[in-house]
């Protein structure tokens, strides 16, 4: 049987993702996020305990800003499920270097389907409904197990549905497979090409590899990339440099970044022609003072809290990230999309640990 929330989410997934003004969205979220919180309260024992401690009372209606938010790191330490284990069809994991804990996100059929639909709806708003030939700037070895998805693998599979003739551009050793690439470009000579990949992989294994090879491509394409700027910030590559590099090495004029995380797959935030990120109908963001967690107004950078209507199999509908972002405005982006638009400034700084116990004793 479908719950009321399910019906609402399904309706929303049939609605244009950037058409609702903020006032209306706020009302919708107050209702739906409250219901979703109550659902997780009843169905996830860990969530019930911690939401109570964080001040949640199941019988009170809460404003969106009052709904408890849990740190994304919690998914690295606990298996949090709001459905029975037998209903899980997919487990998503965050990308983490070896030895690091990874988030484990449990998806049932419903949540997985919502995420897929949301992704299609959002991305179509930027690239149109026509399915373009797709070049994946990655190696096929990223997709190993169909049941256990890394963030990279999940992104690739999600985007694969948005294009046709999906082709991996890199071989097992992350080298460009020029033979495969040339054949693909020849086959789709008359069409615009869709590129998808992870920001750092694209920079390192596409742009820099082409420079090393002394080759230049001239492709009429649109490139979508995400996964974070951490590695690029450390070598002082910003969005403008990234775009310029793609123009110079591949001739790609249209480059679009997205912000998203495995804890809220599907409801990604895409960069519009104005160079800002947009919240869709399926999720939203709240900026909080990094120290006190009080809600900050437009124009003030702070910790990013993400809320989404999609997660029902795990309590990830309201999460506190460790990213610093800033809402730039709502409803009035010149690109025409409604809702909040924002910018991400980066990660919060790691603590300089003080104390008697060494932090790097075993390194």
């Amino acid at each position: 049987m479908k719950t009321r929330t399910t019906v609402v989410v399904e309706e929303l997934l049939a609605t244009p993702p950037f058409g609702m003004e903020s006032g209306e969205k706020r009302g919708l979220y107050a209702q739906e996020l409250s219901d979703l919180t109550l659902h997780h309260y009843h169905c996830c024992p860990e969530y019930r305990r911690l939401s109570c401690l964080l001040g949640y009372t199941p019988d009170a209606r809460m404003a969106v800003e009052e709904i408890p938010f849990i740190p994304v790191r919690l998914f690295k330490e606990y298996d949090l499920l709001s459905v029975g284990k037998q209903d899980i069809i997919k487990t998503m994991t965050s990308s983490g270097t070896s030895g690091q804990a990874v988030s484990r996100i449990y998806l049932d059929k419903t949540t997985a389907a919502y995420q897929t639909k949301a992704l299609v709806r959002i991305v179509s708003s930027f690239i149109g409904n026509k399915r373009l030939p797709l070049l994946i700037v990655d190696s096929p070895s990223v997709i190993k197990s169909r049941a256990l998805f890394s963030a990279r693998g999940a992104g690739i599979l999600g985007f694969s549905m948005l294009g046709r003739d999906a082709t991996y551009m890199l071989d097992e050793n992350n080298q460009i497979d020029f033979a495969r690439l040339d054949a693909f470009l020849e086959k789709h000579r008359s069409s615009r090409i869709l590129f998808f990949g992870f920001t750092f992989i694209i920079w390192e294994y596409l742009c820099q590899a082409l420079r090393r090879e002394g080759r230049r491509l001239e492709i009429d394409g649109i490139l979508i990339h995400g996964g974070g700027w951490k590695q690029l910030t450390s070598i002082a590559v910003d969005n403008a440099t990234f775009k310029k590099e793609l123009r110079e090495t591949c001739g790609i004029q249209s480059v679009c970044n997205y912000y998203g995380m495995v804890e809220q797959t599907g409801s990604i935030f895409m960069e519009c022609s104005q160079g800002v990120l947009h919240a869709s109908l399926y999720s939203d963001l709240i900026i909080r003072d990094p120290v006190t967690f009080s809600v900050l107004p437009v124009g003030q950078p702070g910790l990013v809290q993400l809320v989404s209507l999609l997660p029902s199999s795990y309590p990830g509908h309201s999460i506190l990230t460790e990213d610093i972002g800033e809402i730039l405005g709502e409803d009035d982006c010149p690109c025409g999309r409604k809702g909040r638009y924002f910018r991400i400034h980066g990660r919060v700084k790691n603590a300089e640990v003080r104390g008697c116990s060494d932090v790097d004793a075993t390194q």
Binding site: L54, L74, V291, F293, K349, A351, E352, G355, C356, D358
Partner: protein, 402 residues
């Protein structure tokens, strides 16, 4: 003469390995005392010290009058002499710790190899400069040959080389460092002083807190602030838990006063970082999920988290977070705390509890932890007796003369 190792990755920051002497002195040797008195004077006179409170407290500890006072305590007619060569492995995140470790061993009469933290701290560079300069002066030629300060990475072979010639090792940095260094064999008679992971708590008499005038409460809470916040609540002696001694309603009232006062101090003197704020939320979530005895959480604007407990879980003191995260428990009978006191407990700070009550608590409960019981405000005061060790006596040997 003792051969100190040489290695491409080993840097002697102070001292010349070619002229090293590992022969010990008697504790509180006159030249050592003169050296420390002069070091203290130099540091206190240097304007830069004023901006480094930890260096200042080190300088203050080394002053002539304090050393003389300490010497009196060990004036016991027993013929003692340093063990010989002491190898110090100092912690990476407490800048002045290496200096205390060294001075304690020097006072015990030993020659020293002091491994400095790899992380650069202005305090370390500052102290190293002063120590180096002073060791080059007269009449310190002899102790200069007895002391080297070294920097190296995680090279096992260097740890092994120093361990092989050490008459004692002083290992700071907690369990992980201790286990790492213990893998390297030492001479049969050599001893280790290990500063393992330790945790601390505080007992406050509820009625006594209520009775305090605000100005006196301000002073007390300011001392508590120093205990807890100077090392971000991460030092082995920083209080992580506050036990209210009294009944529930008294504890409620005393707690409100105490934490409100602390809040004002924290706002003015402590900068909570974004990552610590998230860490505290994270710890609260862990506690909510894992603890059954959690009765309430108060966190105001995140600066102070108060986690109130109905009973005491066994591992409560090891639950780690820092940055202003306190467990609270109320009891009118201190014996109720005894079951959770393990050997991991180091310092108990107190206010409003009598010496008799504390003595009786420790002696009748057969507890295996708590090495220090000091008034609120003295948690960080390191000294020759630390973490349950008498450093002068442990780092020296007795020549039994009849």
């Amino acid at each position: 003469m003792l051969m100190l190792p040489s290695d491409d990755n080993l840097k002697y920051v102070i001292g010349d390995p070619a002229f090293f002497s590992g022969r010990p002195l008697r504790p509180f040797d006159t030249v050592v005392r003169t050296f420390l008195a002069r070091l203290s004077k130099r540091l206190i006179a240097d304007a830069a010290t004023r901006s480094m409170p930890d260096v200042m407290s080190f300088a203050w500890w080394c002053r002539k009058s304090n050393i003389e006072q300490q010497a009196l305590i060990y004036d016991d007619n027993i013929l003692r002499i340093g063990r010989g060569l002491v190898f110090h492995v100092t912690p990476t995140n407490v800048p002045v710790n290496f200096a205390f470790s060294w001075v304690f061993s020097l006072l015990a009469g030993n020659a020293n190899v002091v491994r400095l933290p790899n992380r650069r701290f202005p305090q370390i560079e500052f102290l190293v400069q002063h120590i180096k300069r002073l060791l080059d002066e007269e009449p310190f030629g002899h102790i200069s040959r007895m002391n080297v300060f070294v920097i190296y990475g995680h090279e096992d072979r260097i740890n092994a080389a120093f361990s092989a010639i050490a008459d004692a090792r002083v290992l700071w940095g907690g369990d992980a460092t201790i286990h790492t260094i213990r893998k390297f064999p030492q001479p049969a008679r050599s001893v280790d002083i290990c500063f393992a992971n330790r945790y601390s708590f505080c007992i406050l008499g509820a009625a006594q807190i209520i009775a305090l005038e605000q100005s006196n409460l301000d002073r007390l809470v300011s001392r508590f602030f120093n205990d807890a916040y100077i090392m971000d609540q991460n030092a082995c002696s920083s209080p992580r838990m506050v036990v209210w001694y009294g009944d529930k309603s008294q504890a409620e009232q005393a707690g409100d006063r105490f934490w409100a006062t602390l809040r004002t101090i924290v706002e003015g003197r402590y900068e909570l970082t974004a990552i610590s704020s998230v860490d505290k939320l994270m710890q609260a979530c862990r506690d909510a999920i894992e603890l059954d005895c959690l009765s309430e959480m108060r966190r105001g604007d995140n600066r102070i988290y108060r986690i109130r407990l109905d009973s005491l879980p066994e591992d409560i003191i090891q639950r780690h977070c820092g940055s202003g995260y306190f467990y609270e428990y109320t009891t009118h009978n201190l014996d109720q705390i005894a079951p959770i006191i393990t050997s991991s407990f180091q310092t108990l700070t107190y206010y409003g509890v009598s010496r008799e009550e504390l003595t009786s608590f420790v002696s009748k409960n057969q507890i295996s932890g708590i090495d220090r019981i000091v008034p609120v405000g003295e948690a960080m005061d390191i000294g020759l007796v630390w973490d349950g060790y008498d450093l002068i006596r442990t780092l020296s040997r007795v020549c039994d003369i009849h």
